[in-house]
Homo-oligomer: 341 residues x 2
């Protein structure tokens, strides 16, 4: 099975490319009317995520509509806590909410280490998507990084500070490591299952990296990300996206990951200096896509030039916001595709 | 009028000190039962802020109870938008909310440039506090940085992304500069009034610096901060605290500010490297104060050693969280006071 467009995989591996590949975090999402139509077929967000046909449908939409160089499976990072025994709800305009949170050793002991089979609906969605994609572009699998999942499992919801989760790290470091280890093992099982089901590359999302200090980040987050990279990178390329962990670019580059996702607060040239030979991914401000066409073209070209053609995957520095005009997204994609380095 | 304890002012000016001064952002706040008792005397948050006697009371409480080396006037950064003609409410557990937001040129034209006299209740609170403090410690005045105030005035409330405010920057750069200029002039008037009313030093809080890219930050935030520094630093020392603007330490050090506030994601030695001869302030993770006494002592001492005795003001990297135990805060203060560099 040869991919017709394997730019993303070559870029991730540091191989030669004709141009940088482009995809966008949250490309399958509310910016597309087609997504909203598919979403309306499910009773709620959780059922949507658990429906392989619907997940496949929205995964492929941006490939057709936006012309991106990769599909990323539609799912949610919190499927892992759920598979471990901690179900959640997605509350409209509020975000995730867990009825039960992890409070002590018993709670941790009661969690199971998830197996790929526990997430069979994701595996089904992946197999279906892989088939429907018909090797047009690579399929990206993903998981939340252990610290980010831990943060939700302790906090029970989103938070500006994640102060409860951090309090747990500060007061219960040993229990924290036990929980992080269980999440890590579950994530490795899950991502290995994704590879068997057909993903060509995986990304770890450490959405809440930025609330930790550098020292805490290495102890409670990067250590586990590194384990996952070691388990997965012999199979498929691995991208680590640690949002707001500006201090960690160099240490992330010392893991066995293949590429490093960057948010828009990090300067491309600075990131190049600290990231060795790793591929970089990012990092346009999503709000740039609110701007005039002229501004989008100018700023995107500056970014493309700063990162260079090789070892680069063009993306935003965070997910698309729901009210961004899809025409602006198409323009962004087009600018990348037409750029001459 | 000689201050009995002028450590903070000497540290801010880079003069010799016996030890580093210590105070804490949000030291006047919900961690103190005494604050909660005073707060209960006012009908709501806005009336609390506008009552000089109550503001004075809670400003002095942490000096008496926690033993900090400075008092910071109890107030709110959003008094400036209000004085410019944009009133707000503080909604319990939600945060600030503006009924009217800035949407276009007419809205900007309709805003007035605030004068110190428009904020007479703050001036009264300052004069009263200065008198009651009886020169025991310096009195810190403050204001929100123009970008942070702009963000609330456009967005109308807090936000994880401030995408509406950023959309305005991207789509209406000229109007954005007009509004930022008006906020800047208002802030200069306000802070000059604070100096006349008795403050010994001022701090600018750029709470939402971190949502901007480096380039946007210089254009839409630091430019105006720099103007305020130029207007105020001939009168009193000025501290700039730009939360999450890790990339901007060097450029902030090139303004006429005296000291730079740091959040806990910035390494002290890295900050020293990029900040020239400026004084640094910060930067313990507030969540450290949830930890055991042993851990608090160890981590605080590491931080004190890393920053060094001179040109350093000990503080947290953000405000105290409401559920932090005041005994832990006292311990933190004590560790600083007893540390031998």
């Amino acid at each position: 099975m040869m991919l017709k467009n394997d730019l993303l995989l070559r870029a991730a591996k540091g191989l030669a490319v004709e141009r940088a590949p482009v995809w966008l975090m949250r490309q399958a999402g509310r910016i597309l009317p087609e997504y909203r139509a598919t979403r309306a077929k499910a009773k709620n967000f959780i059922e949507f995520v658990k429906n392989p046909e619907l997940a496949c449908e929205v995964t492929i939409q941006p490939v057709d509509i936006l012309g991106v160089d990769a599909a990323i499976i539609f799912s949610d990072i919190l499927v892992i806590p759920e598979a471990m025994g901690l179900p959640y709800q997605m509350i409209e305009a509020k975000g995730p909410w867990f009825e039960h949170t992890v409070k002590n050793k018993t709670d941790i002991d009661n969690l199971k280490i998830a197996e790929a089979a526990d997430l069979d609906y994701v595996m089904q969605a992946l197999r279906l998507t892989k088939k429907e994609l018909n090797d047009r572009v690579p399929l990206i699998g993903f998981a939340g990084a252990p610290w980010t999942l831990f943060a939700y499992m302790i906090e029970g919801s989103g938070s500006k500070t994640f102060s409860k989760a951090k309090q747990f790290l500060y007061t219960q470091p040993e229990l924290s490591h036990q929980l992080l280890e269980k999440i890590t093992q579950s994530t490795i099982n899950y991502l290995k299952g994704q590879v068997i089901a057909g993903v060509d590359i995986v990304q770890l999302f450490d959405s809440w990296a930025g609330v930790l200090s550098e020292k805490m980040y290495y102890e409670f987050s990067l250590k586990y990300i590194s384990k996952i990279c070691d388990a997965l990178s012999p199979l498929v390329p691995v991208t680590v996206f640690a949002k707001d962990a500006h201090y960690a670019v160099q240490k992330i580059s010392e893991t066995s990951c293949n590429s490093i996702g960057l948010d828009w607060t990090i300067d491309p040239l600075t990131a190049r200096k600290f990231s060795g030979n790793k591929t970089l991914q990012g990092n346009a401000d999503p709000c740039l896509l609110y701007a005039s066409d002229k501004k989008i073209i100018e700023e995107t070209q500056l970014m493309l030039n700063a990162f260079g053609k090789e070892r680069y995957i063009c993306n935003l520095g965070h997910g698309l916001y729901p009210d961004i005009d899809k025409e602006k997204v198409k323009l962004f994609v087009q600018v990348v595709k037409e750029y001459k380095w």
